[in-house]
């Protein structure tokens, strides 16, 4: 704010002002629903998760193998070339310890969201969770492997992997 200006606009309200209707209000509860086609690349990716394997795409021009897969290389801006069956293991590139859920509810047992760099890719990671370990024991560069849901419970979703757990000998 400039010293040349003496007054400034804005009328603060408190939560109680809304609850007790001290000001006039209009409310609205949207009921929007969406169904997304998973598309070509993620469609195959999710289908392969249902089969219990992780797949990526390779570009022959820059050589990168990436996951999540896409049918084009955004670097070379050309169609990429082939599907690559990857291992279901990787390393923890970064991680955090979440004490809140998606709607900011507090939770006792913390979640461990992490970026897992999948083995065989060009430093390409995916967002997932780390499990079966104390948060204090998770380390950068830790080797982890996917824990899959039983085949009959898989639906073709990233949640077909329950979480990634430390490979034995890592702790």
């Amino acid at each position: 704010m400039s010293v040349r200006v003496k007054g400034y606009a804005g009328t603060p309200l408190r939560e109680e002002d809304l609850e007790q209707r001290r000001v006039l209000l209009v409310s609205y509860w949207p009921k929007a629903k969406y169904i997304w086609s998973a598309g070509i690349a993620i469609g195959r990716y999710l289908a392969e998760l249902k089969n219990g394997r992780i797949v990526g795409r390779q570009c022959n021009k820059c050589g990168r193998i990436v996951v999540p897969p896409r049918m084009f290389c955004e670097w070379c801006f050309r169609p990429n070339d082939s599907w690559v069956i990857l291992k279901d293991s990787g390393v923890v590139n970064t991680f955090s310890i979440s004490r809140i859920t998606a709607d900011a509810t507090r939770i006792k047992e913390p979640l461990i969201p992490a970026v897992i760099q999948i083995d065989g890719t060009t430093n390409a990671g995916i967002l997932h969770l780390v499990g079966e370990t104390d948060p204090e024991d998770v380390r950068f560069g830790m080797k982890v492997q996917a824990l899959w849901k039983p085949p009959e419970e898989r639906t073709g979703s990233v949640t077909d992997i329950k979480y990634f757990r430390p490979i034995e000998g890592e702790q």
Binding site: R4, G10, L13, Y28, S96, R99, I100, D103
Partner: protein, 388 residues
């Protein structure tokens, strides 16, 4: 890259920032725009075009928010366009306005940024969740804070940064905000207060985060000839830059914001700045989280990679330090009505470079400053260099 016309900021205005305003978005936009016009003695008839910056429609539950806000923004029956690059919007809006004038199309442009986050109930957090990839990430039930915690932790790991050297940024900015009459969270806190505040998603704690806010800010831009008729002390926009990285955010190393560096290089080249560490007198990097100020100082090349936490710890970035950073109080102290918060930083550069910042005035003879914003999936950098 040639620009046709030199562009100046000639006026600025803003509302108070607060958790919940009685005013509607249109009313907030009007107040900020009116103040910006009054500050330079212009009438709405003098304004040839208007640009509006505002973040996701989901906050307001109002679609076509640019069109909704038009009347409050002073754009009735004028060339008008909304721009949006997530959190980077507030520093992109003046770039958008700059394009209108530098191109030679117009001689005056009113730039307005508005955000009203409080309408989204119970907390605007919920509206943020849809930034995660709908097919591969949202099924995991992510919280918005996750990505910042993952980025912050990676940054801390690569440079071996202790948490207290990050917490000191929150302490500084909330203290600086005590001198800002529009501030939402001016506070005297200690590093211990930050370290003892509730852990949400480690390493992010409650006092590492800026608040959600309602508010608006506005500036008036003019071409060189016109600016000199309006004021004796125009502040020049001498460099602009913007850059976006991939939305496949898990495919890059989050320890360094390369896209911010790219945007800064574009702006510095335009402004003829060869050595930003020597030539920038103070800066307003984007600080929605305390670590982001440090991350962005590095992306803006105001110090070496990994060096920013030490500069903050040693007091170099205090308002009376060698390189004042966020003398306004930043988003952590003044508040974070997304797009308006970014434009607030441009207002601060304008007031500081005109020596109008009062108690917040950085000492010495500041002539050159940089403001920057950041957003989307940690992928956009927007940069403006201004000179007195």
């Amino acid at each position: 890259m040639m620009k046709k016309k030199r562009v100046a900021v000639v006026g600025a205005g803003m509302t108070k920032f607060m958790r919940r305003a009685q005013e509607t978005g249109k009313e907030l936009a009007y107040e900020a725009a009116r103040m910006a016009l009054d500050s330079c003695g212009l009438r709405i008839e003098d304004i040839e075009c208007v640009t509006m910056g505002s973040a996701p429609d989901a906050f307001d539950g109002v679609h076509m928010k640019g069109e909704y806000l038009i009347d409050g923004a002073g754009a009735w029956r004028k060339p008008y366009m909304r721009n949006y690059v997530g959190g980077g919007t507030g520093v992109f809006a003046p770039i958008h306005g700059w394009q209108h004038i530098a191109s030679g199309l117009f001689d005056t442009c009113l730039v307005v940024c508005e955000e009203k986050m409080s309408s989204c109930r119970p907390h605007p957090q919920a509206a943020f969740l849809t930034i995660f990839d709908n097919l591969t990430e949202r099924p995991l039930g992510p919280n918005l804070v996750w990505i910042f915690a993952l980025e912050m932790h990676r940054y801390m790991h690569v440079h071996n940064i202790p948490k207290e050297k990050i917490a000191v940024v929150s302490v500084k900015n909330k203290k600086n905000a005590m001198d800002h009459p529009c501030a939402q969270l001016p506070q005297k806190i200690t590093v211990e207060d930050v370290l003892n505040s509730e852990t949400l998603v480690w390493p992010v704690q409650r006092l590492d985060i800026s608040p959600t806010s309602d508010g608006a800010a506005a500036i008036v831009l003019a071409s060189e000839d016109v600016a000199k008729k309006i004021t004796d002390s125009p502040v020049w926009i001498d460099g602009v830059g913007w850059n976006l990285d991939t939305a496949y955010w898990t495919n890059r190393d989050l320890y360094y914001p390369q896209y911010v560096e790219n945007a800064a290089r574009m702006a510095y080249q335009m402004a003829g700045i060869k050595n930003p560490r020597e030539e920038i007198d103070f800066a307003e990097p984007y600080d929605p989280f305390d670590y982001k100020e440090l991350h962005h100082m590095e992306g803006l090349m105001l110090c070496k990679k990994g060096e920013a936490p030490n500069l903050a710890w040693e007091g170099v970035t205090q308002r009376d330090g060698k390189l004042p950073i966020c003398p306004s109080g930043g988003l952590l102290g003044v508040g974070n009505p997304i797009a308006a918060a970014g434009l607030m930083k441009i207002c601060e550069l304008f007031w500081q470079l005109r020596r109008e910042a009062g108690k917040r005035q950085v000492p010495g003879d500041p002539r050159t400053a940089v403001a920057q914003a950041w957003g989307d999936l940690m992928q956009v950098g927007t940069v403006v260099v201004m000179r007195a």
